[in-house]
C-alpha cells in the first residue's frame, strides 16, 4: 500500500489515518449498508451503486492489507489472533515465511490460520506465541481452551468460532507442547474443533504443525513445517506468517472442501445445518456445474455453505463462485 493509496482508501471509507482495523471495518460495513438501502432510490442508478460498492471493497482491501497491520502493531504488542483455523501437517504444500522473534520467551509457536471476518480478502495464519503461549505450554486441556478464548480478538473469526462455540482456537506447536496440544484437542468437541484435525495429524505423522504463508486458494496455498522451537528462555521465537486471501482469488469448490476438511466437518453435518443436500454440496465442491440447479438456488447454497464454514463474507464468497457458474452456463448456452 502506497501512502497515496492509503489516503484514497481512507477518504473512500471516511476514516482517519488513526483509524483502527475495527474503525475501518465498521466504516466499511456502514457504507455497504447505506448503498444497499432503499435510500439510494431516485439518487443512484444500479450501475453507480455497483461501481461504488466495488470501490469501497477495494478501499477496504487496501486498508486491511497485512503490511499495514504489521506497521500498526509493531513487534512487542501481542497481535491478537484474527481467527483460528488449524490445518493438519501436510495439508498445504509450499513455503513458509521466516520466523520472527517474539517478546514472550516462554512461548512456543502455536499454529493459527486466521481468517478475517470481513471481506474475505485476507486470510491470516499466524504462529505467534504471545500472551497465552505459556499457559498453552502448561498443557491442560481446559487452560488451553481458556487461553484460546482469551486471545480471541473481538474483530475476528476466533470470537465467532471460539468464543461463541466455546471451542479452543489455537493449538500450540513445537516439540515442547505438541503432546499437550494433542490432549487439548481431543478434549474439545464440536464441528469447529480445529484442534482435532491437527491433533490427529500430529500424532499420526509425528511431524510438526505447519505454518501457512502465501496466497490461499486456487491451489496457491503454501505451507511449511513450523519452526518447532522448544520454549527456551531467551531464545524466543515465533513464526508469524500471513496468509492472505486477496479479493481476486476466487472461491472454488476446492477451497470449500479444504476448509471443511480442515475443520473436520463431514458433508452430512454441513447438509444437516445448511439444509442443502449432500449430493448438491458434493456437486458444489466438485464444481460439477452441470449437476447444479439454477444460479439463484446455487447462490443460496454457496452462501449457506460458506456461512456454515464461517467464511468472513459469505455473500462476497458466493459472488465469485457464481461468476464462474454463470460463465459455465453461458458457455453451455443456457
Amino acid at each position: 500500500m502506497t501512502p497515496q493509496e492509503g489516503r484514497d482508501a481512507r477518504t473512500m471509507l471516511g476514516v482517519s489515518a488513526e483509524a483502527t482495523d475495527e474503525d475501518v471495518r465498521k466504516a466499511y460495513k456502514r457504507l455497504r449498508a447505506v448503498y444497499a438501502s432503499e435510500a439510494t432510490y431516485g439518487l443512484l442508478a444500479p450501475d453507480e451503486i455497483n461501481q461504488f460498492r466495488d470501490a469501497i471493497d477495494a478501499a477496504y482491501a487496501v486498508l486491511m492489507d497485512p503490511e499495514r497491520r504489521a506497521r500498526l502493531r509493531p513487534d512487542a504488542t501481542p497481535t491478537p489472533p484474527i481467527g483460528s483455523l488449524t490445518l493438519p501437517a501436510g495439508f498445504l504444500a509450499g513455503v513458509a515465511g521466516p520466523p520472527t522473534p517474539t517478546p514472550n520467551p516462554a512461548a512456543a509457536a502455536p499454529l493459527r490460520a486466521a481468517a478475517r471476518d470481513e471481506g474475505f480478502e485476507e486470510f491470516q495464519a499466524s504462529a505467534t506465541g504471545e500472551g497465552g503461549g505459556a499457559t498453552v505450554a502448561g498443557g491442560a486441556a481446559d487452560s488451553d481452551a481458556a487461553a484460546g478464548a482469551d486471545r480471541a480478538d473481538e474483530q475476528n473469526l476466533a470470537r465467532e468460532v471460539g468464543a461463541e462455540r466455546g471451542t479452543p482456537s489455537a493449538v500450540p506447536s513445537g516439540s515442547g507442547v505438541s503432546a499437550a496440544a494433542g490432549a487439548g484437542a481431543r478434549a474439545a468437541a464440536g464441528p469447529f474443533d480445529l484442534l482435532g484435525a491437527s491433533g490427529e495429524a500430529l500424532d499420526g505423522s509425528g511431524s510438526a504443525p505447519v505454518a501457512l504463508a502465501g496466497p490461499f486458494g486456487g491451489g496457491g496455498v503454501a505451507a511449511t513445517p513450523a519452526h518447532a522451537t522448544p520454549p527456551a528462555p531467551g531464545a524466543a521465537a515465533h513464526a508469524r506468517l500471513d496468509l492472505e486471501l486477496r479479493p481476486d482469488m476466487p472461491l472454488t469448490g476446492e477451497l470449500l472442501r479444504r476448509v471443511r476438511e480442515a475443520r473436520n466437518v463431514d458433508l452430512r453435518d454441513v447438509s444437516h445445518h445448511t439444509k442443502v443436500s449432500v449430493t448438491q454440496l458434493h456437486a458444489i465442491e466438485n464444481e460439477a456445474f452441470q449437476a447444479l440447479p439454477a444460479a439463484v438456488y446455487v447462490r443460496g447454497f454457496v452462501v449457506e455453505y460458506a456461512r456454515y464454514l464461517r467464511f468472513p463474507d459469505p455473500q462476497a464468497a458466493a459472488r465469485s463462485y457464481l461468476e464462474r457458474y454463470r460463465a459455465f452456463l453461458d458457455a453451455r448456452g443456457s
Binding site: 457504507l31 449498508a33 432503499e38 435510500a39 439510494t40 432510490y41 439518487l43 443512484l44
Partner: protein, 347 residues
C-alpha cells in the same frame, strides 16, 4: 403533555426576548415533503400543539393552498378569515388571519375557502406573504407547505429557521425526497442573489430538472467554479448554508429506522449536503386513530410512542431552530452573496 414550570419560564423569557428586540419575528418551522401522504401535516399539527402545550405562543400556518386541511386535523371548522383574504389584500396583516383553536396558545392561519385551483401563490403575493411572516405575533410559526417542489414550498423551506423534510421508507418517497432536496437547494442559492453567471447556471438547472433528477448541490458548486470566482463563492456559500433536517415517518422495520442515517450519508457523499436527521417516528396505530377522530395525537394519546417521539423531535427541532437563525426571514437579500447566516431578522 402538561407544560412544566421550567418550560413556561423558558417560554416567558423567550416571549420577553422577542418583544424586547422589536422587529424580531417568530421562529419559523417549516414541514415539507416531496411526496404526499408521508405525514407532513400530521407532524406539523402535533409539533405545533406540543410547542403550544409547552407554553409558547404558536401559530400553525396552513400554506397548503387548494389542499388545506389543518383545521380538519385540529377538529375545527374552516375559519372565516383565510390566507385568501391576505392574498387579495382584504386584510393587511397576517395577524388578522390568526384564529384561536381549542388548544391554548395555538392559533391557526388557514388556507381554507380558497378558490379551487389556487395551488400556488404568484410571485407578488408570495413575496408579500414572506415579508409579513416576521410580523406574526408568536414565538413559533409552524408551516405546513404544499407537497412537491412548487415555488411556494421551496421558498418557505428556505426561509425557515428549521426546515424539515418529511419522508417515509418507500422508494417512491425517497425518490421524491432527493428531487425535493436538489430543487430546494437551487432555489436557496438563487435567493441570495448570486452573480449573473451563477444565476444563469442555477436557473438553467432548475428549468432542466423537469422530470429528471436535478443537478446536485455539489455538482452545481463544481459547475460554478468553472464560471468565475464570485459565482463559485456564491454557490459554495449557499451550499454551506443549506442544512435541511429530515424526519423519517412511519418506520415499521429496522431497515426503515436506519433509512434516515443512510439518507444522511448519501446526501453528504453524493450531494455535498449536510443534512440533519432529526429522528424517526415509528408506525403507530394511535396516530392513525387520532387523525380519524380529528384530534391531535399528542392530546388524544399523549402516552403513545408517536407522541413521545414527537416530544423528542420537537426538542431537537427547537434546539436547531434556535441555533441556526435563518439567513433572512423578511425579504430576499438580493446581491448579498457573502452574507453570513446569522444576519437575519431573528434576534
Amino acid at each position: 403533555m402538561t407544560p412544566t414550570a421550567e418550560a413556561r419560564a423558558a417560554a416567558a423569557k423567550e416571549g420577553a426576548t422577542n418583544e424586547a428586540s422589536q422587529g424580531a419575528g417568530p421562529h419559523l418551522c417549516v414541514f415539507a415533503a416531496g411526496k404526499g401522504g408521508v405525514g407532513r401535516t400530521l407532524l406539523a399539527v402535533n409539533g405545533a400543539v406540543y410547542l403550544a402545550n409547552m407554553g409558547y405562543r404558536v401559530v400553525l400556518f396552513d400554506a397548503d393552498l387548494g389542499n388545506c386541511n389543518l383545521h380538519t386535523l385540529l377538529g375545527a371548522e374552516p375559519p372565516d378569515r383565510t390566507l385568501d383574504d391576505f392574498v387579495h389584500k382584504r386584510v393587511d396583516s397576517l395577524n388578522a388571519l390568526v384564529v384561536p383553536t381549542r388548544v391554548a396558545n395555538l392559533g391557526l392561519v388557514s388556507a381554507a375557502r380558497d378558490p379551487i385551483g389556487a395551488a400556488s401563490l404568484k410571485h407578488g403575493p408570495r413575496t408579500r406573504l414572506f415579508t409579513h411572516l416576521a410580523s406574526i405575533q408568536a414565538d413559533y410559526v409552524v408551516v405546513d407547505t404544499p407537497v412537491g417542489t412548487g415555488l411556494t414550498t421551496l421558498d418557505f423551506f428556505n426561509l425557515a429557521h428549521g426546515p424539515v423534510a418529511v419522508t417515509v421508507a418507500t422508494p417512491a418517497a425517497t425518490e421524491r425526497l432527493w428531487r425535493f432536496i436538489c430543487a430546494a437547494f437551487i432555489r436557496s442559492a438563487l435567493r441570495v442573489g448570486p452573480p449573473a453567471p451563477a444565476r444563469a447556471l442555477l436557473e438553467e438547472a432548475f428549468d432542466q430538472s423537469v422530470g429528471r433528477p436535478a443537478p446536485s448541490p455539489g455538482a452545481l458548486v463544481r459547475a460554478a467554479r468553472a464560471l468565475d470566482e464570485a459565482s463559485a463563492t456564491a454557490v459554495e456559500q449557499a451550499r454551506a448554508r443549506f442544512r435541511p433536517a429530515l424526519i423519517v415517518n412511519e418506520a415499521r422495520t429496522r431497515a426503515d429506522a436506519e433509512l434516515g442515517e443512510a439518507i444522511r450519508v448519501l446526501a453528504r457523499d453524493r450531494l455535498d449536503v449536510d443534512l440533519d436527521v432529526l429522528g424517526t417516528l415509528s408506525w403507530d396505530e394511535a396516530a392513525w386513530i387520532s387523525v380519524s377522530r380529528r384530534r391531535p395525537v399528542v392530546v388524544e394519546a399523549p402516552e403513545s410512542p408517536f407522541s413521545q417521539q414527537i416530544e423528542q423531535l420537537v426538542h431537537r427541532l427547537r434546539a436547531r431552530v434556535e441555533a441556526h437563525p435563518p439567513a433572512t426571514a423578511a425579504a430576499p437579500a438580493a446581491g448579498v452573496a457573502g452574507e453570513a447566516p446569522a444576519t437575519g431578522v431573528d434576534r
